[in-house]
């Protein structure tokens, strides 16, 4: 499979979860396992562009797929992406454990929805639990990221 643009080939047990494969075999520990039953969303990654729970998917099911994780979000020069930057600016994370899932879910949504409103983002985020922030700063970060992405696009045009 390809993870963040890099190709990996491994033999894995059929029952190995994707989240464990990423964390243990590939040492990509940015993806977190929070509940292992598909509710909390901390383990959310993008598989072929779609957000999925890596705790509900076997690694072998991702054979040949293109996987994106939090480690792949920053820009090529190492600087934070617009969404990451907005989380920083709005205090969108406290303990940081749910953050990988929040970032991946919002990354997917903002790619396809340039002008989200608050309620829309709240509904999108219902699949990701956070116990620290009360979500407010995460939603603000998502809205601000959409604004900055639009501004950047306009500037480029």
């Amino acid at each position: 499979m390809s993870v963040n643009g890099r190709t990996y080939e491994r033999d894995v047990e059929p029952r190995m979860l994707l989240v464990d494969f990423l964390r243990q075999d590939l040492d990509l520990t940015g993806t977190h396992a929070g509940c292992e039953h598909g509710v909390c969303g901390a383990c959310t990654v993008l598989v072929n562009g779609r957000s999925l729970r890596s705790c509900l998917m076997f690694a072998v099911q991702a054979n040949g797929a293109s996987v994106e994780t939090i480690e792949g979000l920053a820009n090529a020069d190492g600087s934070l992406s617009i969404l990451q930057e907005c989380f920083h600016d709005h205090h969108g994370l406290q303990c940081g454990f749910c953050t990988p899932g929040m970032l991946m879910t919002l990354t997917e949504h903002l790619r396809e929805n340039a002008t989200p409103d608050e309620q829309e983002l709240r509904v999108v985020l219902t699949g990701n639990l956070c116990r620290c922030t009360g979500y407010q700063a995460i939603v603000e970060a998502g809205l601000d990221a959409a604004r900055r992405m639009r501004a950047k696009k306009e500037a480029a045009e």
């Binding site: 047990e13 029952r15 190995m16 964390r23 040492d27 990509l28 520990t29 940015g30 993806t31 977190h32 396992a33 929070g34 509940c35 292992e36 039953h37 509710v39 909390c40 901390a42 994780t69 939090i70 480690e71 979000l73 920053a74 934070l80 990451q84 989380f87 920083h88 600016d89 205090h91 994370l93 406290q94 303990c95 940081g96 454990f97 749910c98 953050t99 990988p100 970032l103 309620q119 983002l121 709240r122 509904v123 985020l125 219902t126 990701n128 639990l129 956070c130 116990r131 620290c132 922030t133 009360g134 979500y135 407010q136 700063a137 995460i138 939603v139």
Partner: protein, 780 residues
């Protein structure tokens, strides 16, 4: 010193790593040769263990060891976990063994630890371990525990009562005798558990050649964990190092030392390799401590104006199977009832019982929400009975600013008289009411009702004892590399200590907060620490940083003054060095000074210099400092489904001086979300045999993004006179009063149905029952 960073909403130092997926959580630790553990847990709430058959499990390839109580190394085997919060009122104390010894007293108790090459294999093996139980009757409901013929929660107990002690002041009999009004209420309050997103976990590494134990732990205080290892194994202080890096939330129960941690250490000692155990979410629901249940039967006495004359009754607290937290939680609840109000007389019989459920631990708020709920519900009851506005009843009862410091007449959890040090409670409520246009709400409510919508408003006030002792420390060191490092035992779980403590230090040292490296939670970096709980870090660690910062700055100036041949008073710390004020070319860099300060090999030390430029301070508060808040909540209730939507929350919080508004407001908003869960969603259920029924995040609901409104946070700011930086705690203030405010708002919304709510959480089925239980037409 000018204040550049103290008080500024600077962005967090923690974020750079966490946003890139480069955090260091305990499950990210990977050591050479590391094995993986899982636990065989009790499936019975109360039973004698007749035998544990490991043979089939041991035959599984990849299984290294299966350890039960008898296999533990001495002296751990013959010890129980130490009780660190003793209280003379406790009549009997039961503490857990590291692995159950013959009797198990709750579902989820650790019976054996399985060590294997992978977690997958360890779990396979655990399923093959056969435990022979002889079931005993289980005590599930604390109300059943106090009956004379109740079965015993612990085989060796006299009865199920841990404590039965009055908490009181004033003459309640006289107060009730003269009262114009007496109202009686029974309250049930359930506070669920922490449900941090990162479950618990430890990695243990025993180095037999050095006889040293290294533990990586997801904790709220690595020094407290270290102390338990020292006490359980008769180590000396230098044989144990506990390291807590990033922690995915704590909320109280990660401050407890659990038997699993000692079992992992024992496993590493016995197998000679590092061992990792990461709790899964099901274990988290059965084996991480919870706050759960309190029953309060109360009477309030009031005069004709609605002013309080007395409060009396009984608090029955479910302590769970072991009392590892002593009386801490119910004691805080009992003393938090008084809140911001003048109460002339109080008598509460505090009864704590053992049950066959996981041990009770403080969770964010730690009894304060329950105490607040009792008083605020009574305020609403008085208002209703006397036909007064709810906020007006509160206004009539407030302690006035001129009465500060105000001794409420009780001993608080810190062992000192509860003396409120500062606060302006009338102003706090007035500001909150003004911001929410409270007086206009009744018209809005009636207008909504005409459209068939049920909206309500509620308000609640709380005073919270924060900044508990005994101390927290900080060392600030100027390294010979010129870098400034700050070490503290205050271990964060998202509260941003690395940023806020650096802000406090930076102003003293003339550098940016970003230039200070903050090391938290490594027991090798500072000898003593207590950790993060009871909204105490800003008060204790913040003050220590402040004091250590002053001392280091003074030392730096003294050395530079000698070298530059000027008076220290003419110097200022600036841009990573010291310079003569107005003469920037007369300057010594931190690096140069630090190198001079450590001396030259073999040469005599100059003058009266001590080696190094560093200072350690342990701030020891003389008593708790009392923060306060006023919460206003608005809700809309769907009477068909019973769904409650919280539509607005405003918090007026007073934590004294605010070190970083961005971060403090984040704490308040997050705390509100936790309180919304307590008010409306979170309930841990058990069947009559003590089997937990809520063991997934699908059964036990914590608030989602759509359940939490945008929260408005404002501040009154009355600096605490009890510490040098004037701060009070802020970590729990968002949670405490919002529960009472929301439930008051729900009751207000259900006025047409004459709802009287005396419990938390309020679930949809209860609302539907209330709505269905009346024939009253929904119109006024």
């Amino acid at each position: 010193m000018s204040e550049k960073y103290f008080g500024a909403s600077v962005k967090r130092k923690e974020d750079a790593a966490l946003l890139r997926g480069k955090g260091k959580f305990v499950d990210d630790v990977k050591l050479p040769g590391m094995l993986h553990a899982c636990f065989v847990r009790s499936s019975s709430a109360h039973a004698m263990i007749r035998g544990i058959d490991k043979s089939a499990a041991l035959a599984l390839p990849g299984v290294i060891a299966i350890i039960t109580h008898d296999d533990l190394p001495e002296p751990m085997r013959s010890r129980r976990l130490p009780l660190y919060v003793p209280n003379p009122n406790m009549k009997q104390v039961f503490m857990p063994c590291v692995l159950a010894d013959g009797e198990t007293v709750f579902v989820g108790e650790a019976l054996a630890i399985v060590v294997a090459e992978s977690r997958y294999i360890a779990e396979d093996a655990a399923a093959l371990v056969i435990v022979d139980y002889e079931d005993l009757p289980a005590i599930v409901d604390p109300r059943d525990a106090i009956a004379d013929d109740a079965p015993l929660a612990q085989a060796g107990a006299k009865n199920n009562i841990v404590c039965n002690v009055p908490v009181r002041f004033g003459d309640t009999d006289a107060a009730f005798a003269k009262a114009k009004h007496v109202f009686r209420e029974s309250f049930f309050m359930h506070r669920g558990g922490p449900f941090f997103m990162e479950c618990r976990g430890v990695v243990g590494q025993w180095d037999a050649s050095a006889e040293k134990l290294t533990m990586y732990a997801s904790s709220q205080g690595s020094h407290r964990f270290k102390r338990t290892f020292v006490d359980l194994c008769d180590f000396d202080e230098n044989q144990v190092q506990v390291i807590t890096n990033d922690v995915g939330g704590g909320f109280g129960p990660k401050g407890s030392f659990y038997v699993e941690y000692a079992a992992v250490a024992a496993a590493s000692m016995l197998v000679g390799r590092p061992v990792k155990w990461i709790e899964d979410r099901r274990e988290n629901f059965v084996a991480t401590q919870q706050e759960r249940d309190q029953y309060w039967d109360m009477e309030v006495a009031a005069d004709e104006y609605g002013k309080l004359l007395g409060l009396r009754g009984r608090l029955l607290h479910d302590g769970g199977a072991y009392v590892t937290w002593g009386l801490v939680l119910p004691w805080i609840a009992a003393t938090s009832v008084i809140g911001p109000y003048v109460l002339p007389a109080y008598h509460l019989d505090l009864v704590v019982v053992m049950t066959n459920k996981i041990t009770c631990s403080p969770v964010r708020g730690a009894g304060r929400p329950q105490g607040c709920f009792v008083m605020e519900r009574m305020m609403d009851r008085i208002a209703r009975e006397l036909g007064l506005d709810r906020a007006e009843v509160r206004r009539r009862n407030f302690i006035q600013p001129a009465q500060m410091p105000y001794n409420i007449g009780l001993t608080f959890r810190d062992g000192k008289q509860a003396i409120y040090d500062s606060g302006d409670y009338p102003l706090s409520q007035q500001m909150a009411l003004d911001h929410t246009n409270y007086p206009a709400f009744e018209e809005r409510r009636k207008a909504a009702l005409r459209e068939g919508r049920y909206i309500g408003i509620g308000t609640a006030n709380a005073v919270e004892g924060t900044g508990l002792g005994p101390y927290e420390g900080a060392t600030i060191r100027l390294s010979t590399s010129g870098k400034i490092v700050l070490y503290t035992g205050a271990t964060p779980q998202g509260q941003s200590h690395q940023t806020t403590l650096a802000q406090v230090a930076a102003d003293h040292l003339g550098v940016s907060y970003e230039d200070i490296r903050v090391v938290t939670g490594d027991t090798n970096s500072i000898p003593f620490g207590m950790g993060t709980f009871a909204s105490r870090t800003a008060v204790n660690a913040g003050s220590s940083v402040h004091l250590a910062g002053i001392e280091v700055a003074t030392k730096i100036k003294k050395l530079a003054a000698e070298l530059l041949e000027v008076s220290p008073d003419d110097l200022e710390l600036k841009n990573g060095g010291v310079e003569v004020r107005g003469v920037p070319e007369m300057r010594k860099s931190f690096r140069e000074l630090a190198n001079i300060s450590v001396g030259l090999y073999g040469f005599s030390m100059k003058g009266d210099r001590d080696p190094g430029l560093e200072a350690t301070s342990y701030f020891k508060p003389e008593q708790s400092t009392y923060a306060n808040s006023c919460h206003v909540a608005e809700v809309e209730v769907d009477i068909e489904t019973g769904h409650v939507q919280v539509t607005r929350v405003l918090v007026n919080h007073d934590c004294g001086r605010v070190i970083n508004p961005l971060i403090v407001n984040g704490q308040i908003v997050g705390g509100v979300a936790h309180g919304i869960g307590n008010a409306l969603f979170e309930h841990l259920l058990f069947d009559e045999n003590g089997q937990p029924l809520t063991t997934t995040l699908g059964d036990y609901l914590i608030p989602m993004a759509t359940d939490v409104p945008n929260v408005d946070v404002i501040h009154t700011e009355t600096p605490s006179p009890l510490n040098p930086i004037g701060v009070k705690g802020a970590g729990e203030g968002g949670t405490i009063a919002v529960i009472a405010a929301i439930i008051s708002a729900v009751e207000n919304a259900l006025t047409p149905f004459d709802a009287k709510l005396t419990n938390m959480p309020i679930m949809p089925e209860q609302i539907v029952r209330i709505v269905n239980g009346t024939n009253k037409i929904a119109a006024e």
